[in-house]
Amino acid sequence: MLKTDRQVLTQSGPVDVRSLYDKYAGMLLGYVFEIVRDRKLAEECLVHVFCELSAAFGEENSDGPQNWFQLQRFAKGKLQAFTAVAGNGAAAEGIAMHHSNDQHLAALSAEQKRVFHDIYYHGKSVGLLAAELNRTEEFIRKTLKEAFAILRKSGEN
């Protein structure tokens, strides 16, 4: 039997939109908030992403995101235009800008924080960041790796 639009939009795929919301909405709101730095706007973006998500589930041959990694990538794609604008502002204001998540990224050095923040939240490429910071791409990748290792350790403690 053919599924109706309503069924397709809310239930298709092994993971439905509601269960993704229950599991990841808070994480996604925290992620979007770090990009837009405006609570109300972040909430609007959250609604927008989940509406887009329902459409993605409805598309033929598409199950939509199934886990946080995929959901975060999906959201990043949908918010790309916004990220670009916010990213430019952040780049102009430099490292001093990164303070809102200090308690979570406190263990990182200023440079590690900058690299992690610009790549994770603003979707900057390694090449672009290397040019901005006047460093090699290898250095940026190493710094990113170090940042990950530190965050992993601080998470374990």
Partner: protein, 168 residues
């Protein structure tokens, strides 16, 4: 083995997980992931790390957010369903204007494709050539037709003269 460990330690995996790896890096990584289980394992671990980081930075959405999302999804569904109905019954007697005004509140008007065609410029010369050849053939046909009639008349005159000369 050493090379794979070096690769894992290079930070490319972290860049990929955060979505900043280049296309070439992504291609190489996916190839190595399929070939070396260590790469696949390291990627899985990084994805888990990323989830933990996101959990730490999570903000609980205000109550009513899901209701808002659900309402928006229902709007999308309604719009799709009304679209489907319009396609199914295009010639039925319906209040078209009201449905159009209802639709206009839900959709942004986008200009449809016009009957305008795009043709390569070379066809202009081909069409001109065909037109010119057509004219030449027409001129030739008229010329040979007149020529033929003229010859026929001359033959007729010659035949008459020949008949007259035989009669004498």
């Amino acid at each position: 083995m050493v090379k794979i460990n070096e690769y894992i330690e290079s930070g490319v995996l972290e860049a990929y997980v955060l979505g900043s790896a280049s296309e070439a890096e992504t291609r190489e990584l996916l190839y190595l992931k399929a070939k070396h289980p260590q790469v696949s394992e390291a990627l899985r671990a990084l994805e888990t790390d990323l989830e933990h980081i996101a959990q730490k930075m999570a903000i609980t959405p205000p109550p009513g957010t899901w209701t808002k999302i659900e309402a928006n999804i229902n709007e999308i569904i309604k719009a799709r369903e009304s679209d489907a109905l319009t396609i199914d019954m295009p010639y039925r007697d319906q209040p078209r204007e009201s449905s159009r005004s209802r639709k206009s509140s839900q959709f942004v008007e986008v200009e449809a494709e016009s009957g305008h065609m795009r043709i390569r410029k070379i066809w202009r010369w081909i069409f001109a050539g065909v037109f010119l050849l057509g004219k030449i053939f027409l001129a030739c046909a008229i010329y040979f037709y007149i020529e033929n009639r003229h010859n026929e008349k001359e033959i007729e005159i010659l035949k008459t003269e020949l008949r007259n000369s035989r009669g004498k």
